[in-house]
Symmetry: C2
Subunit: 207 residues, 2 copies
DNA sequence: AGTTAGTTTAATAAGTCTATTAATAATGTG
DNA sequence: CACATTATTAATAGACTTATTAAACTAACT
């Protein structure tokens, strides 16, 4: 009897709902379906979270914050050259998305749908990227001045990194279907694009 | 009295529905809402298209085909150098998305939701990219052999182009909100990223 | 004017969805 | 043990959905 088998109903609902929201999105997931999947009465969902929106937001906000924190974590960057820092950022971002491949679509869909939620997140998290941006921007200037890196802004670099990594995971379900990839081929594609995305960004930085 | 003011009801429904599907997606758009927006009875939607799925698919398929054709059109590429061909492809793809900024999200959402529809489109359109791919792959080989371009596959180049352009438009609603961009700033961002995406791909190709 | 084909509407069936309420079961506490 | 709190269920209200049916309206042709 693991202590986890006594997992609270509230926690089970949260975890089940998260999977279902990731799989089908907010609109296409009903509290009835969640309850059925959890194996409890539908009213219980509303007992714990009152509204479906509440349930969604509490899941979404914590998950988003968690991922956001990891993306902007600077502790692993110390003692790395500028190029290696960039490489590390691309790879870390890629790996976080790898572990949460359905999150990009959910974020894009639900933050476009709920601009209020976006404002809340923005206010709550705006301080997080600052450290990374300040460190990298300063170092980028030095590199540019030394002629080691092409003249560009760190924001543009970030934009490029996020674009390359994000797009891969938003297109993945379609790509897998079109190319009829099996698990091994999928794994290969991911490893290949992970390396390629690093290459692309580093090529872009060459003066 | 323009002859267009006598636009058929069927056409009006198609056009209105297209806008609403683009704006809110399939699940969040009801035939009731479409009818209301068109200004007709809700049963009329079903009279012309029988099901909501039918209506959606006939809009989606024709639109998708149209865009797909433009992306893989090769007529404008003749007499251009390899580098200029790549530049032209990136810019054309970007411009097509610019004119249809909401299509990327709709495609990503609905093709993931409807794998059958994806198979139909795949069978119907698989011949279209062939010409472009064959031309470009051949030329790419020559360039690589001459040491003018880094060793890579055309599929990888395509993947990169689509990623960079697609991601911009999927992130755009969020970016505009977060950065609180006005129309002029938005226009500037788009022009800037259009040029930047070309730069990124061309940098990547440098040996 | 009368018939017909095509268009549009009103009414409604059958189902799902969110959310609430009241009743019951389980658990903890003095 | 008795009481209070918490968890869970059944039942249901009320709104909204897709889709169908039959009736009404419109325009064209004979």
């Amino acid at each position: 009897m693991d202590i986890n088998s006594e997992k609270s109903m509230e926690q089970t609902i949260l975890e089940t709902a998260e999977q279902m929201f990731l799989e089908r999105g907010f609109a296409a997931t009903s509290t009835t379906q969640i309850a059925k999947s959890v194996g409890c009465n539908q009213a219980l969902i509303h007992y714990y979270f009152r509204t479906k929106e509440n349930l969604f937001n509490s899941i979404f906000e914590s998950k988003f914050k968690l991922l956001f924190q990891r993306v902007f974590d600077t502790t692993q960057l110390e003692n790395l050259s500028f190029t290696d820092k960039i490489k590390h950022i691309v790879e870390t971002h890629f790996d976080i998305l790898s572990e949460n491949p359905k999150m990009p679509m959910l974020i894009l869909n639900e933050l476009s749908r709920q601009p209020e939620q976006l404002k809340i997140l923005k206010e709550r998290l705006h301080a997080l990227p600052e450290k990374l941006i300040s460190i990298m921007s300063k170092e980028l200037e030095t590199e540019i001045a030394a002629g080691k890196v092409k003249n560009c802004s760190f924001i543009d670099i970030m934009f490029t990194i996020v674009s390359l990594n994000l797009a891969l995971f938003t297109m993945l379900p379609i790509a897998v279907n079109v190319a009829e990839l099996n698990d091994i081929q999928l794994k290969f594609l991911l490893a290949h694009r992970r390396a390629e995305n690093v290459n692309i960004v580093l090529s872009y930085l060459r003066p």
